[in-house]
């Protein structure tokens, strides 16, 4: 559970400070006064001061995490998640900033809708940045008022959930967004190639008799989007990439073009299609978890820096949405609370990635994609701090879920690395 304290002066003592912006790592102290970083150094004396001292020995002290891909379901499906419950799920995972997708009901496709999200989240304990829809009604036909939406607080644009099928429309959207200097984030899946597939097309899908979703459905559209973005010099962000083919395409295009960015989700790094063997609907997700080689390519891609960041694609669903047949179950899983323990286990503990590098993928890199402030440990900066134990082994259970929904394939799994404390929006949280 989560405990909140509002406190004026907090001293985080003797932690291992990893600043992913300056790339400095040292053992030291951070002082937060009135919600701002007021001092950071090897040792800050506390004798005779009215500081609340938090012992961070053995813990890593770093920037608050930033998730650029989450679904908070408000407005419309407040039974699954609200902006408020989503905020606490985020805090549980060490996230102080979250960008929320537009596929709510109604869809976030006008400046008025953006304004609603911004004003509704202003008092919440994390920063919520709405991503606006690219097309009105997510229909992929008419552009939304992106200029006015940006003025009202839209941070980027995405029809996530509905791949943009029409190449001419995608071209116009990428062109229009050039005026805003923000990325178009496309959910790349060719609907016809996807062919109603419910899991990765593989031996497992054949054996289970489930309809397969070929990795080509993603790769074909990724290739189209990369070509368009490159020729237009537009910002493109590839959402939740899942296949080796996509990683290979990124290698080819990213070298020449810094405007192209991408993300990978924890579940695509953690699971493979074979894990679906008992028709476990908590693993039903779009795009699907893929094969061994795809997972391996994604791990290599995030390690090498080819993939910019980790994003949860936190997608809450009710029990009844998932307690059904695999065909009928909804796509998606929650991901905020389990994120760090999962990716730290897979990437750092099992695949030799450095912890520093992993932290970049959760902090400075996603913020860079979204043009957010990245130098969070500079003096005077609004404090966003996440403190975790990088080595704690724990089993993820319902008790750790702060989301309104509990559709997670990580339930019962052992994770490594656990968030302990967070400072966000002038509040101190103990997880």
């Amino acid at each position: 559970m989560i405990e909140t304290e509002s406190t004026k002066k907090l001293l985080f003592k003797s932690g291992r400070i990893i600043d992913p912006f300056t790339k400095k790592t040292f053992n030291g102290d951070i002082l937060v006064e009135n919600g701002k970083i007021s001092n950071i150094s090897d040792s800050i004396p506390s004798r005779g001061k009215d500081y609340q001292v938090v012992d961070c020995k053995g813990l890593v002290v770093t920037h608050g995490f930033c998730d650029i891909h989450a679904h908070f379901r408000e407005p419309g499906r407040e039974d699954k998640e609200t902006l408020e419950s989503g905020s606490f799920a985020a805090l549980g995972g060490g996230f102080t900033q979250v960008c929320t997708m537009a596929n709510t009901d109604p869809i976030i496709d006008s400046p008025e809708h953006i304004h609603y999200i911004v004003s509704k989240s202003s008092k919440l304990p994390i920063d919520i940045f709405p991503i606006g829809a690219v097309s009105k009604g997510l229909k992929g036909e008419d552009l939304t008022e992106m200029l006015l939406m940006q003025k009202n607080g839209a941070i980027a644009f995405s029809d996530d959930g509905m791949p943009i099928q029409n190449a001419q429309f995608m071209k116009l959207a990428l062109t229009y967004a050039k005026m805003l200097d923000v990325p178009i984030m496309n959910h790349a899946e060719d609907i016809l190639l996807r062919n109603n597939g419910v899991m990765n097309a593989s031996t497992t899908s054949n054996n289970l008799g489930l309809k397969g979703n070929t990795s080509l459905a993603e790769a074909v559209m990724v290739y189209r989007d990369l070509l368009l973005a490159q020729s237009l010099s537009s910002k493109l962000h590839l959402l939740h990439i899942s296949t080796k083919q996509t990683v290979d395409l990124l290698k080819q295009f990213k070298k020449k073009n810094s405007l192209i960015t991408s993300e990978v989700s924890p579940h695509h790094l953690f699971f493979i299609d074979e894990d679906v063997n008992a028709f476990d609907t908590s693993l039903k997700v779009a795009p699907p978890v893929r094969g061994k080689n795809d997972r391996k390519a994604l791990i290599e891609g995030i390690k090498s820096g080819l993939i910019d960041c980790i994003a949860t694609d936190h997608a809450p669903h009710t029990i009844e949405d998932k307690e059904t047949t695999f065909n009928d179950a909804e796509f998606g899983m929650i991901g905020l609370e389990s994120c760090f323990g999962a990716v730290n286990k897979v990437l750092v503990k099992q695949n030799g990635m450095s912890l520093k590098s992993l932290i970049e993928k959760l902090t400075v890199n996603p913020r860079k994609v979204m043009n957010l402030e990245q130098d969070l440990f500079s003096i005077g900066c609004k404090a966003q701090i996440t403190i975790f134990d990088p080595n704690e082994k724990w089993v993820f259970t319902n008790e750790h879920i702060l989301s309104k929904s509990s559709n997670s394939p990580f339930l019962g799994k052992e994770l490594i690395g656990r968030v302990k404390y967070i400072v966000s929006k002038n509040q101190f949280f103990t997880i």
Binding site: K136, E141, D142, L143, T144, E145, M146, L147, L148, Q168, F169, L172, A173, T175, Y176, K178, M179
Partner: protein, 309 residues
């Protein structure tokens, strides 16, 4: 007289011809302001006005120019002609030509139609707008209006705002302004701007306030509302807010700028009524200058060289 036999477009039009037309336009403007408003310089000449596309201003302007010059003019519009019966452009035109005409004014929805016409007839062809290609007489009347206001064109800073990509007016204006030594910046939503600005020798920006603070004159183009449904602009509201010549924007400027619009205007979209009707707007001067410019063009292309104005 002119080096050119026709006026098809300004891209390849000799600058000497362009200057001659502009200068002569001022003489016709003087005549238009006399009591008789006439200069019978094209008596016995026959001009056919062929409008395959709708037009109010341009059609009336040409008819009036022909009448003021004493030419015989015939009007032809596609909606009431054999074009409806399936006759080709070539046959339509050659039939008209065989009736002995000296000049043809053509507006057509397809780019290149005016040039095509020169292959079929001997008389002078004047392009009154061919698709998204050129609208040279509009650009000439714009040049006349600018020169009338500033006494020169060279060195002036002119902004053009709107659908630059699909506008024949923008294209002809850019060619004319560049030929005459003006600096040009175009502004509009990125989906309606050309990607070959460098080749045209112009600059591009998405920031209207920047253009307005920089320019001496601004030409607002009509935004075709059907573009909205082709995914090029999201709404009238967003267009008006970001690319409209709003009263608020114009009144914030530190210096006066000349406001132009080729018409027909979408008041409240690309231009506010208060701006269109303000003292800085020369939109109605453009209309009168249109008649003078077209008289000048008709006279210089169809008239005899020794006629004194």
């Amino acid at each position: 007289m002119l080096k050119s036999k026709h006026l098809i477009g300004l891209e390849h039009f000799p600058v000497s011809d362009l200057n001659k037309i502009i200068d002569t336009s001022f003489k016709f403007k003087e005549i238009l302001q006399t009591e008789s408003r006439k200069a019978i310089l094209l008596q016995g000449k026959t001009v056919v006005n062929m409008f395959f596309e709708n037009s109010t201003r341009t059609k009336i302007s040409f008819s009036l120019a022909e009448k003021r010059l004493g030419a015989d003019s015939i009007n032809f519009s596609a909606s009431t002609s054999s074009v409806k019966k399936g006759e080709t452009l070539k046959d339509t035109v050659q039939n008209i030509e065989s009736m002995k005409i000296d000049g043809a004014v053509i507006r057509h929805g397809h780019p290149g139609s005016a040039l095509k016409l020169t292959e079929y007839i001997d008389g002078a062809v004047i392009n009154a707008g061919d698709g998204s290609h050129e609208h040279p007489t509009q650009a000439i009347l714009d040049m006349v209006t600018i020169k009338e206001k500033f006494g020169k064109i060279k060195g002036l800073k002119v902004g053009i705002v709107g659908d630059i990509l699909n506008s024949r007016v923008a294209r002809s204006d850019i060619f004319a302004l560049k030929k005459l030594g003006a600096e040009v910046v175009v502004c509009g939503p990125s989906t309606l701007l050309p990607n070959d600005a460098k080749k045209l020798g112009i600059n591009i920006t998405y920031n209207l306030d920047e253009v307005l603070n920089w320019c001496d004159a601004v030409i607002a183009l009509r935004i075709q509302l059907e573009r909205m449904h082709l995914g090029r602009i999201p709404s009238k509201r967003e267009y008006h807010s970001e690319f409209g010549l709003t009263f608020e924007r114009i009144s914030k400027l530190k210096k006066d700028i000349v406001i132009m619009h080729p018409g027909p205007m979408n008041r409240g979209v690309e231009i506010d009524s208060k701006v269109a009707d303000s003292d800085n707007a020369v939109i109605l001067d453009q209309v009168l200058n249109g008649v003078a410019s077209r008289m000048s063009i008709l006279y210089l292309l169809l008239g005899e060289g020794d006629m004194e104005i």
